[in-house]
């Protein structure tokens, strides 16, 4: 039975020999990468942006506006999808050799649907942030009220104690 050993540590570990005595004698870690980088032969980018449909070579079936009415477009894409599925069933019965075009249209509808849903994500992120901030403000207000109440209670107790002591 052949077992592979673990890969050796990277050779620059020797540079950190005196790290416990002098932390500045060893090199700093590399700064974070910006822009595009290559990982296992693939190109990746550090910018988190949703690529538009035209860049993926898919026709865009909903109107390209800055404020798209998401609900209406999602519903109409759903209707289109059902129609195309029905058409595919028809084509398979009548002219079975022409299925490829229908399948292409159906897959483009699916890609449009997913693209619309993905473009809703930034909106969802902002809404989540608003919700969290509102919760935090409410908690802070509650904490301020609590502290005020306790301080007043403590002062009252102290006054009572003084009165009791003076009365003796």
């Amino acid at each position: 039975m052949a077992t592979a050993t673990y890969p050796p540590p990277p050779p620059y570990y020797r540079l950190y020999k005196d790290y416990s005595e002098n932390p500045n004698s060893a090199p700093e870690p590399p700064p974070p990468i910006e822009g595009t980088y290559v990982c296992f032969g693939g190109n990746y980018t550090t910018e988190d942006v949703l690529p538009s449909l035209e860049e993926q070579g898919v026709p865009q079936l909903y109107p390209k506006d800055s404020n798209v009415d998401y609900k209406k477009e999602l519903r109409s894409l759903n209707r289109e999808l059902q129609l195309h599925i029905l058409e595919l069933a028809d084509v398979l019965v009548e002219r079975p050799s022409q299925y490829a075009k229908r399948i292409g249209e159906i897959s483009s509808i699916f890609k449009n649907l997913h693209h619309l849903l993905n473009s809703l994500r930034p909106h969802q992120a902002r809404a989540t942030l608003i919700h969290i901030m509102e919760l935090q403000i409410q908690q802070r207000k509650q904490a301020v009220e609590d502290i005020k109440r306790r301080r007043e209670e403590a002062q009252r107790l102290l006054k009572d104690a003084f009165v009791t002591l003076d009365g003796q």
Partner: protein, 139 residues
């Protein structure tokens, strides 16, 4: 699961129902007579009579598809899409930040005052305890 992920799952399941439906129908379809010259094909006795006879399958599969599509429409209707777009949200976030900062300052003030009073009370308590100890004569 949040609503957008549910919508995405619903889209994927509509796709799954579609290709499963077509695949099942193609796999289970009985043979068809190609031309009037050839005799009618004999119905295979190894038909798929496990759960549903063949004429019912398209009905069931299309009912499943329509149900999934209706579910998708219901989910779309449940989207809490607040109108106003990106700018309104960013404006609201800025307002909330300001309010949060003000409340944070007030909380800090109250906290510092409370800590000061706590120290005073602790000092007083220490003094009182010392006095008590000094006053008690050992028997």
């Amino acid at each position: 699961m949040d609503i957008i992920s549910q919508l995405q799952e619903q889209v994927n399941s509509i796709a799954a129902i579609t290709f499963n439906a077509f695949g099942t129908l193609q796999r289970d379809a009985p043979p068809v007579q190609l031309s009037p010259n050839y005799p009618e094909p004999a119905a295979t006795t190894t038909a798929t009579d496990d759960a549903t006879p063949f004429p019912e399958q398209p009905k069931q599969l299309s009912a499943g598809l329509v149900k999934a599509a209706k579910q998708f429409d219901a989910l779309v209707a449940a989207l809490p899409l607040s109108e106003g777009g990106e700018e309104a949200q960013l404006k609201r976030i800025a307002e909330l930040q300001v309010e949060n900062y003000i409340i944070g300052q007030e909380l800090q003030k109250q906290l510092e005052a409370a800590e000061k009073e706590l120290k005073q009370v602790q000092e007083l308590f220490g003094q009182a305890a010392d006095n008590c100890l000094n006053m008690k004569k050992p028997e």
